[in-house]
């Protein structure tokens, strides 16, 4: 079984600042995928970014980028130029074909005006 750990229950930054959310995982799988999901107050889970474990290049989606350190089993999310609409719960998740999706406990990110 896999485990996903998010050590920051809550974070708060000012609008336009850059913020990094941390995530570590543990697995014996060699072929897997990592995701960051966003859950705003509307409850709708939204996929923010995806990283294939076999790719060394860090994934980037507009203001969102990851720092994927495979040897350290670390997968942090960086949000640049943060906006009020980024306020949400952020869940790190691990997927492998054997076990499907495993979520971390989440980080509540608050963007202050």
């Amino acid at each position: 079984a896999q485990t996903v750990t998010q050590s920051q229950p809550e974070m708060s930054v000012q609008e336009a600042e850059t913020v990094t959310l941390s995530c570590t995982y543990d697995t014996s799988e060699s072929n897997y995928y990592l995701f960051w999901y966003k859950q705003p107050p509307s409850r709708q889970m939204i996929l923010v970014i995806r990283q294939e474990a076999y790719k060394q290049q860090n994934a980037t989606e507009n203001r969102f980028s990851v720092n994927f350190q495979k040897a350290a089993k670390s997968f942090s999310l960086k949000i640049s130029d943060s906006q009020l609409g980024d306020t949400a719960m952020y869940f790190c998740a691990f997927w492998c074909r054997a076990d499907g999706l495993t979520f971390g406990k989440g980080t509540h990110l608050i963007i202050q005006p």
Binding site: R43, Q44, R50, E52, F91, W95, R97, G100, G104, K105
Partner: protein, 117 residues
């Protein structure tokens, strides 16, 4: 991507009653999942529902408490039976898009917020 709707979006129920939550997908999918998200917590998988077979329940969840139906490839229901206040949670339906690629992306419904008094 799949578009998922859930009914009801929220409900307030009395202890001892049951509530059935519906999940409708706009495309045919093989795998559907039901999650529970307790207040301020992460998502916990209740069961996996494949069309034409019994749902597979995760440890700590049983069919008598959370019966699931999966009559076709676009629809599923989850019933929360004999409810107690501890069942107050958000219940999310999710589907897996098996597009033939190396991984299966999951899409989530908007959730049903259940409050049990």
């Amino acid at each position: 991507s799949a578009v998922i709707s859930q009914k009801p979006s929220r409900d307030i129920c009395q202890r001892g009653t049951s509530l059935t939550i519906q999940c409708q997908v706009d495309s045919q999918v093989t795998m559907m999942f039901w999650y529970r998200q307790q207040p301020g917590q992460s998502l916990t998988l209740i069961a996996t529902a494949n069309q034409g077979s019994e749902a597979t329940y995760e440890s700590g969840f049983v069919i008598d408490k959370f019966p699931i139906s999966r009559p076709n490839l676009t629809f599923s229901t989850l019933t929360v039976s004999n409810m107690s206040p501890e069942d107050s949670s958000i219940y999310l339906c999710s589907v897996e898009d098996d597009w033939g690629g190396p991984y299966n992306e999951q899409f989530f419904g908007p959730g049903t917020r259940l409050t049990v008094l």
